[in-house]
Amino acid sequence: MRALLAIVMLVLLSVPALAVRPDEMLADPTLEARARAISTELRCLVCQNQSIDESDADLARDLRVLVRERLVAGDTDDQVRAFLVARYGEYVLLNPVVAPHTILLWVAAPVVLLIGGIVVWIGARRKRHAEPEPALTEEQKRALDELK
């Protein structure tokens, strides 16, 4: 892991960020657009948090060419992604799949929203039945005024 990290740092530090090169691009604009869209969601495996569309690492270039080859061969977008996952593992996908091991990731925010919403709703209902209480006591109001 340490060695991998060192390589990662080395690769990152030795190349400026220059991405897609003209000679890689496909003549067919529809296919090229699809290739670009797929590329932005694939991780450059030797970079830090860069997609292969943004990275100038040699590996990113190889992957970009590979994506285009698969598209020219007639693969669908999903087939291209599946091909890359089979070869490099899920790590290559910047947009994680929805699967048992990622379900917590996907539901975390909606669950927070839901639970928070329920708590707020219950709180609002309970408040309506509660005894009214002055928002600020006279003493507190005076103290606040002194601060002004």
Partner: protein, 655 residues
């Protein structure tokens, strides 16, 4: 000699902070303690500042007997980068971090004159505890004052990507924001320990929250713009873990800002506000941990040392765990305050908090999940921009829809139908503007027009509040204008902050959806057209800079409205490290920018050139500047300033 003096000053600051913390926590009830702690806080600041100056002096004079200077500086670096190199590395940036921590402590001591003595003592004791912990961390695991003998003749140079004015501005601003929230944390701890939390507490904390939030906003915006122009492909937000680390305290801080408002005005949401104050600074600490421990592999991480990681993780656990234990013990003793109906300003602010917390959860889980999954079951997955854009966007959209209603609703009980009527104009204008943009640009089928609609809605909604409060269209213009400029600064601040957010949203949507890109190979004399701009490649020169050599491409750009500009894009090699960088040429037209990057040469002597036209991209950062400006405006409002002299009448009445 100055190095040793600096080292000594830092050790002394550590000792004073530690003693202050112990004395303060043990004897906070005694009258005299606050005074001692105030002096000690100022002393800590002076000593850490002295240590920091000693480091700067060594870097500026290229004293490579200092190990840190040897590793991160070079004698040919321009002066400004010699200075910024001090915090362009782990040890130095920790010194900057603690410097800002003690600045905040000294500021509380200096400006908090009207705080009750016991509260002052507790707050300063907590600040000193934090200072002792992190100065200790710096001295014992990341000592910046180590010497080399014999002294090397030349240094290794600062990472060229960091040799930029951005490094002079971004980290200090960011740290002021990050670390500023320590004051809110200390206030929360003080409230829990003393058991006294009321509306006055909220008013004392508010300026510190505001000032930290403003600096954090500026720091994040600056970092984003820096990445935009320096990294060379025109991205402005990457959902990189380090960016997320600074964004999470911002989200929590924004929630805190809004909930503290409810507490101050209505004495409600007390427990929640305390909780948020703890959460916000905990996220700052988490961010510090993630960046400083090297647990993440990302562009910003320059240190990877497990000892440091473990120590800082222990500190993190101690502070956050301690804070939440205290919270769990004491929170039940706090009484809930003012009542309000669900449809009210309070209700709207609670919704704001709810959505901000959910957005925070999305960012937090997305950032930590790959690390946890790897550690727990050994699976490696990536969570990148597509995930964040989807989840974060889905949560922010409803927040943006309800946002303009908030400031219109009355406290306690609001009238939603009346508010809707008053916002109808803004909604109509927003719809019109969005449809107009859609029609003019010729549309792609995507969510972009909806995003644009949201941006316009928030912007016009913010302006509508000012228009409404000044009674435009309901009375004559002169009266309205008088009313408008007579509005309290807090009303202006609210409207401007929300306007800033709306503008940022417009910028984000426009620059993402309507960007034009052109990747091509050019020879000198050749021209291309992008978004009606005629770009001609004039030629390449070899230029020697102070510590780099550069291939500089000259381009002339003819805008559609006429007018020709010359733009320079560079490919640099830094001599000391041999590291290449690119400097993009960026030309601003109105709110839009033409972004031009020089690619690699081709074997037959031509050059790859990448061009982007980014419509309204500058609105992203302009919006952030307006938000921060609105925060400072609110801060300048006299009633909110802690330590502002009391009006004579009030003082007389009090005596």
């Amino acid at each position: 000699m100055t190095i040793e003096l600096g080292h000594f000053a830092l050790v002394l600051a550590f000792a004073i902070a530690a003693i202050s913390a112990v004395v303060g926590l043990a004897f906070w009830r005694r009258e005299a303690v606050a005074g001692y702690l105030q002096q000690a806080a100022v002393l800590q600041f002076v000593l850490v500042a002295a240590a920091f100056v000693a480091l700067i002096q060594a870097f500026v004079t290229s004293d490579f007997s200092l190990k840190l200077a040897f590793e991160h500086a070079h004698s040919t670096q321009p002066l400004i980068y010699k200075i910024t190199a001090v915090w362009g590395n782990h040890e130095g940036s920790m010194v900057l971090w603690v410097l800002i921590l003690v600045i905040m402590g000294a500021a509380v001591a200096a400006f908090g004159r009207n705080l009750p003595k016991d509260l002052m003592a507790l707050v300063l004791a907590m600040q000193s505890l934090l200072a002792a912990a992190f100065i200790g961390f710096t001295i014992f695991t990341s000592n910046p004052f180590l010497r080399l003998s014999p002294a090397p003749f030349e240094g290794k140079d600062l990472n060229p990507i960091l040799q930029d004015i951005g490094l002079a501005i971004h980290p200090p601003l960011l740290y002021l924001g990050y670390v500023g929230f320590s004051v809110c944390f200390s206030f929360a701890m003080a409230a829990l320990i003393s058991g006294r939390i009321d509306a006055a507490w909220a008013r004392w904390v508010r300026p510190w929250t505001l000032v930290s939030w403003c600096f954090l906003t500026l720091g994040i915006a600056m970092g984003s713009y820096w990445a935009y122009y320096e990294l060379g492909w025109g991205g402005w937000w990457f959902w990189d873990p380090v960016e997320n680390a600074s964004f999470m305290p911002w989200l929590a801080g924004t929630a805190l800002l809004h909930s503290a408002l409810v507490m101050e005005k209505r004495n409600a949401l007390k427990i929640w506000t305390i909780f948020l104050a703890i959460i916000t600074f905990s996220l700052s600490l988490l961010g510090t941990f993630m960046v400083r421990s090297g647990i993440l592999t990302s562009v910003h991480t320059f240190a990877a040392d497990p000892t440091r990681g473990m120590v800082i993780l222990a500190l993190l656990a101690a502070f956050i765990g301690g804070a939440f234990s205290l919270f769990a013990f004491r929170a039940s003793s706090l009484r809930a305050g003012g009542l309000f109906a669900p449809i009210s300003r309070e209700g709207a602010l609670i919704l704001n908090n709810l959505f901000l917390m959910a957005a925070l959860a999305a960012v937090l889980v997305g950032t930590l999940y790959p690390l946890l999954l790897d550690a727990l079951i050994g699976e490696t997955i990536s969570v990148g921009a597509p995930f964040f854009n989807l989840t974060f966007g889905a949560i922010m959209a409803p927040l943006l829809i309800i946002l303009p209603f908030g400031p219109f609703l009355a406290w306690k009980r609001g009238d939603l139908i009346a508010v809707t009527q008053r916002l109808a104009g803004a909604a109509g204008l927003a719809l019109f503007a969005a449809v107009l943009c859609f029609a003019l640009t010729g549309a792609s089928v995507s969510l972009a027009p909806l995003g644009l609609l949201l941006g316009f809605w928030v912007s016009f909604g913010a302006l509508a509040e000012l228009v409404d409060r000044a009674r435009f269209f309901r009375t004559d213009v002169v009266t309205s204008l008088k009313r408008l400029f007579g509005l309290p600064r807090t009303a202006w601040a609210t409207a401007l902050a929300h306007l800033g957010l709306g503008l940022s949203v417009i910028g984000i949507v426009a620059a993402s959806a309507w960007q034009n890109e052109l990747i091509t190979i050019m020879t000198p004399g050749q021209g291309v057209v992008i978004s009606d701009h005629q770009v001609t490649f004039e030629g390449m020169q070899h230029v020697e800079g102070p510590n780099f050599v550069s291939d500089t491409g000259t381009f002339s750009i003819r805008a559609p409205g006429g007018g020709v500009r010359t733009a320079l894009a560079e490919r640099r090699i830094y001599v000391a490290s041999g590291q290449p960088t690119t400097e993009a040429a960026i030309e601003t037209y109105g709110f839009s920018q033409l972004y031009l990057q020089l690619g690699e040469p081709t074997p037959d002597g031509k050059t790859v050139v990448r061009l982007w036209y980014k419509p309204y991209v500058t609105l992203i950062w302009l919006g952030c500047l307006i938000m921060a400006g609105a925060g400072f405006l609110s801060l300048s409002y006299r009633r909110l300033r802690v330590g502002a002299p009391q009006p004579a009448a009030a003082r007389a009445a009090a005596e």
